[in-house]
Symmetry: C2
Subunit: 209 residues, 2 copies
DNA sequence: TGGTTTTCTGAACAGTGTGTACAATAACTA
DNA sequence: TAGTTATTGTACACACTGTTCAGAAAACCA
């Protein structure tokens, strides 16, 4: 069903070159310290040409990201509440693909998550994770009466933020664990909390007081 | 012991004006869309004067932040592991001051945490929270043999990220809960995890498998 | 292959913001 | 009040942006 797209070879080439140049420069100097001049110089493309394809630096970044994320197939299998209560904790873990993707592009993510990165980028990633977690984790596991102890939006944004926090830590420390280990720790800390992680035996209250 | 600082009144006035102008403009248009021209225009100060005080926009932002955070006294009382195991969960909660501070400057934080914000800002806040959580929460509660199920750096960055994620959600939804409620939910979700929050009864494994 | 279409290119331009210099002026301190 | 210090306006060189345009180059297609 896919339409046979005949994109002029020059266009493909130009966009590819610009994309590669952008990525390389981000790693080299950080997103904010790059001018369009720099990008076209590195790509060996005329600056005029840049404006034939993109409105500004941000548009190039965002379209490049979309291409990048097309590599990352969403393989997240939603958990089901019944299944989980029946079988207990089986290591159907939380999005190990995400950690693998970050590891594969570590230099890029390290730059973009740091102070030399872009606020737009972080917001996009956060939105992506939040939606993914809401659909693939919170919603399937929510009590059927919707009566969670904490609002589901709260949980999703909590976990999305936590995942980015952990990814930053991981990148800053030069990936001391494998993507699989990271996904496991993330999963267990999310689901059982820091009391479990710290080996503290406390009975949680029935409701928030 | 405080040295009697005699700062020229003109200097105080100029810096105050620039600080206020910056904050107002951030709320109005977002950090990235402001030029130094704009700031000095709004502040009714000569652009030349700006450079007598600050190197660039970022320096003004960061020194302004330091002044802002001086309002926020770190009142976090570290929990103790023994105490906690003895007394159980008493609502000595996680940093409600932070949520109050955010609520008091909601417009500012909403702008700075959004895509129109600044990556430098987010990184600073994250570092602040991470250090606060490491010292006031993770370290005091860590098993004395240091044998947590998850590394303490992981836990601290997890929680710091989660707190920012939750704050963003809170700001985007126009503060639907009080700072105290937010702090409680944050605390319980952190400590007991999403299984508790979603009312799922599962026995956590003894170790990560 | 050759003719046609499309893209790329370099040069030029106005506009905006940056960072610095300097001499005149205004405001503060003691 | 006299002396010090901060602020001001003007001016300048520089860098980057975004757009226009006509010619060169490349790709397409019959």
């Amino acid at each position: 069903m896919a339409v046979e797209e005949k994109v002029d070879r020059r266009i493909q080439r130009t966009r590819q070159l610009l994309r590669d140049a952008l990525m390389a420069l981000i790693i080299e100097r950080g997103y904010e310290n790059i001018s369009i001049q720099d990008i076209t110089d590195k790509a060996n493309v005329s600056r005029t040409t840049f404006y034939l394809h993109y409105r500004d630096k941000e548009e190039l970044l965002l379209t490049s990201l979309i291409e990048m994320y097309n590599e990352l197939v969403a393989r997240l299998q939603p958990l089901s509440r019944e299944e989980l209560e029946r079988e207990g904790i089986t290591p159907r873990l939380l999005a190990p693909d995400d950690f693998e993707h970050v590891a594969a592009h570590a230099d890029f993510y390290r730059a973009m998550f740091s102070s030399k990165g872009s606020a737009v980028f972080v917001e996009r990633v956060l939105q992506y994770l939040e939606a993914q977690l809401q659909e693939g984790f919170v919603k399937p596991l929510e009590p059927s009466d919707g009566n969670s102890r904490v609002p589901s939006g709260f949980i999703a944004s909590f976990m999305a933020g936590a995942e980015i926090g952990v990814m930053r830590w991981w990148l800053e420390n030069d990936l001391p664990y494998s993507p699989q280990e990271m996904a496991k720790m993330m999963f267990y800390l999310c689901t059982f909390g820091s009391m479990w992680a710290l080996r503290l035996n406390l009975t949680p209250p029935d409701e928030i007081t």
